[in-house]
Point group: C4
């Protein structure tokens, strides 16, 4: 009887197991981005909804940064822990990931961020309902839309806003490339998420004043869309001189520049036992290369 039962269980479990590597990677990116949004935007929610009594700039920056670290712990060994279309974009562009995976990664990231925003709204539903008499506002001292998406500071022009997103994502990618460059100082395996978390703390504490340092199209656009649908209204897209596209396009540009800066100024000059530079984009063993570089 036991073996029979065991057989059944085995086959049921086996049906749940994804044979397709891409499918499990997409699932991983979905879960990672979901976790990042619930806990990251949740840190903003706690500060905003408590009007600063149970959160502030320190808990918020540390919270978002460490929610990224936690998301990478859940996804790092499966999908590389991108949880950011700009990172996936750079990885493809610099030969660390194959392009056909890109839409699946990005789709999973956008979906995970949307579901994460909805989940967070659910967890704090009573809080949102009591915060401003049930009103979901985008501007003013009772605004709550910036819990989910980033909005520009009053002084910020669109040009400066775009430069801001390009530059901050550039620094993000320079460091991501450095952290996973085994020919540089490197980070002990299993501690990369913590170092990336510390990096996000630095970035959001230094370049966060202009527009909140999104550096991630999925982190910003999906929750913004959720707020538009959930009751804040489609003004979330028009305020700030139609600011919404800045944290979508800026990070993609910045990620490319960041990767270029690191490769051209540091990586390309490493002493190379093998003088052939064509190892990137080679068709034979891309999976292995990808993991050895990213992970």
């Amino acid at each position: 009887m036991r073996s029979e039962n065991g057989q059944k269980t085995k086959s049921f479990k086996q049906r749940l197991v994804l044979k397709n590597s891409l499918a499990k990677e997409a699932l991983s990116e979905f879960l990672g981005t979901f976790i990042m949004i619930v806990l990251g935007c949740g840190s903003v929610a706690q500060a905003v909804l408590s009007r600063g009594h149970f959160g502030g700039i320190v808990t918020l920056n540390v919270g978002f940064a460490m929610s990224v670290a936690m998301a990478i712990y859940v996804t790092g060994g499966v999908s590389g822990g991108h949880i950011n279309p700009a990172v996936s974009f750079a990885m493809c562009l610099f030969g660390r990931m194959k392009w056909f995976k890109f839409p699946f990664y990005v789709g999973a990231q956008f979906l995970g961020a949307f579901v994460g925003a909805a989940t967070l709204f659910g967890i704090y539903y009573d809080g949102f309902m009591s915060f401003a008499g049930g009103k979901l506002l985008i501007v003013g001292e009772n605004a709550t839309a910036h819990i989910f998406a980033t909005y520009p500071a009053p002084y910020l022009s669109l040009t400066n806003a775009f430069a801001d997103q390009v530059m901050s994502t550039m620094f993000l990618l320079i460091l991501v490339f450095a952290i996973f460059d085994s020919k540089n100082l490197g980070v002990p395996r299993g501690l990369e998420p913590i170092v990336i978390g510390l990096l996000i703390i630095v970035l959001s504490g230094s370049l966060g004043l202009n527009s909140g340092c999104a550096m991630n199209p999925a982190r910003d656009l999906s929750p913004r869309l959720f707020t538009a649908l959930a009751g804040w209204g489609f003004e979330v897209f028009t305020v700030g001189n139609n600011f919404w596209w800045i944290p979508v396009v800026g990070p993609l540009v910045g990620a490319v520049i960041g990767g270029l800066v690191y490769v051209l100024l540091i990586e390309i000059h490493h002493p190379n036992p093998n003088p052939d530079f064509e190892v990137e984009q080679s068709e034979d063993k891309p999976e292995k290369y990808e993991f050895s570089v990213i992970m």
Copy 2:
């Protein structure tokens, strides 16, 4: 003479040594939960009793989180460092611990938390006596009951409160499973307590506003019972619409869901050299399996 003396000492020491593996594990869980409550609730006490002058949301969240980390350093190599009935419950349910150990673990955790609360009360006895003219209050600006147990925010309904405890414990368990999953990114041995500490910082900084993010029946119920007996009165159980059972039952449900989410979305899809999934619950070498997974 020396050898004689040595013999005596040896036999005295040997009498103290617990031969029973379960007894030493229970002792370890008792000590760990005790440490967590004295230092964790102590962080809340310092903030409350100093009316914010020597503590606030940052010291409190970091303090509770790192008290968990310290408790795991004391217990991790002996009993797995659960210090939480919801964690023990999930470990049993997912085949990482044998069910017969469960009541001993949980009993030790509840007892350790109760003794911890009493010890903390003793350490700050003069402080409690001078804080509100010697009155031990549950509500109002001179309240001190929330030093020991969690209470819901004024806006919170019971439904939302239950969902809150389920969700936050779900995230706790997803990450605990990820941190100890050697086929994922993993954490270097000996640093798991630090990463779990950072996780608690994220969780209490993002999902702590509703009701303080207990996520642990022993951490909440035992100190609450202590306050009821020590002078705050049994209203600690009735306030907040009889809130007390939420952080007891919610975490158990959330732990199961969290374990399921991680196993179904991540763990089950890992490439498996051995296609037989029956390794869980196997009777032959459970002790070894348990430690290889949890530790």
Copy 3:
């Protein structure tokens, strides 16, 4: 010529090298305690002298804790990084250090702390002179004596104060024993100072309200003596009902209890391949044992 010169240099250097192991260990403890006091009490100084504008409870707790970590990085590989007579006392009592070293360690610690207090006073001399019109005060809002030594909260009785120092040092030693217990979870070599730093953050954030969580006779008594001599006057010894001896005696008692708790509840029950418990205090290879346990 070069070899001749080299010979000279060599012999000069050789004259500086301490052949005596105890002498270099004492030198190491002196330097470590010196660093801890300058940077640790310096963190308090920055908060007090800026009246909270450039420091507060967070910078102060983190600063003191990480100054301990830094002191251990400088001394850990040479003298075990005690920088605390209570720790040295427990190490001797539990057979981790030979008693004849004890007075040298403690002397170096007291001397290092005194020189550290004097150095800090020098670094902030202009600040002290301008803070309260050049007056060096012990009580009141312009007090600066608590930059150097700990003072009890107004509500605190001597009994509670003594219990407070015993208990906080007990937790310190339980964790120090756990961190260096290779049969427990352990900490990766080279990261023990960071974990001890995090421990100090927890302790000073949770048990610091009563009297500042000194937990170290040298850290408290030497700077107090310095302030008595440097102009604050000998009232630093009499205020708080002659509080000064509490952070001297309390930690010694607490360290013993802490060691006992860890050994009796955890360490003694580890599965032991060698059933003979007399390895402690054995005369043959104490140096090796000492380092394998402490380091």
Copy 4:
């Protein structure tokens, strides 16, 4: 066609690769100091430009410290991650780097810091323009010059200011020597940047009140020069009794003293299997020695 194309790409890439070890090290120091200034001074900028609403002493100290850590991750494996002329000076003086490299390192550091200051000014251009009605001020509550360079506290004499920079850099170098001393406790490879970051947190939290704890001629002088040219005016050099040279000369003196203290009190006494102390400055394999010590 592919191989032809590959050939072309290869030769283009090869033309970009720096054969000269010194050139790539200088490039690395340039990039590292650039990153440190943008993110480090950026942390100050966020606190100042938001008038404390999105940054304060905690985010600022942590931000600058971790920007140093990030800069070392980018440069550590290539140029040793000095990003500070005082560190390079000590490394040369104590035989860890050859003197002929010194001007190139320092030049790259000063250049990187200047470009970093200019880049930060660009990123926050709209913020600077709106902060004080477009005025770039050096003193008063609307001052922004201290975002880039350090200025002395009102109470500080030049003598005390000089002692302050000497002492703080002394502690910096004592710890840098300890962290990379493989015969002491040491730090796991790849985590040195984090420990140095924690060190900077301690130093700027304890010895930062006098004049901001620059401890680095390039970090202070280059951004100061930038502000002089960018519109703050050359009073940035004259205010504070011509304070500008203190954080340039003081750190060089302090670095030498710090190195001496560590070598004389700790390093020289390590048990040495090879009694010949001339290994420093040996001409045969300096590169290897340099890396084994610094990295």
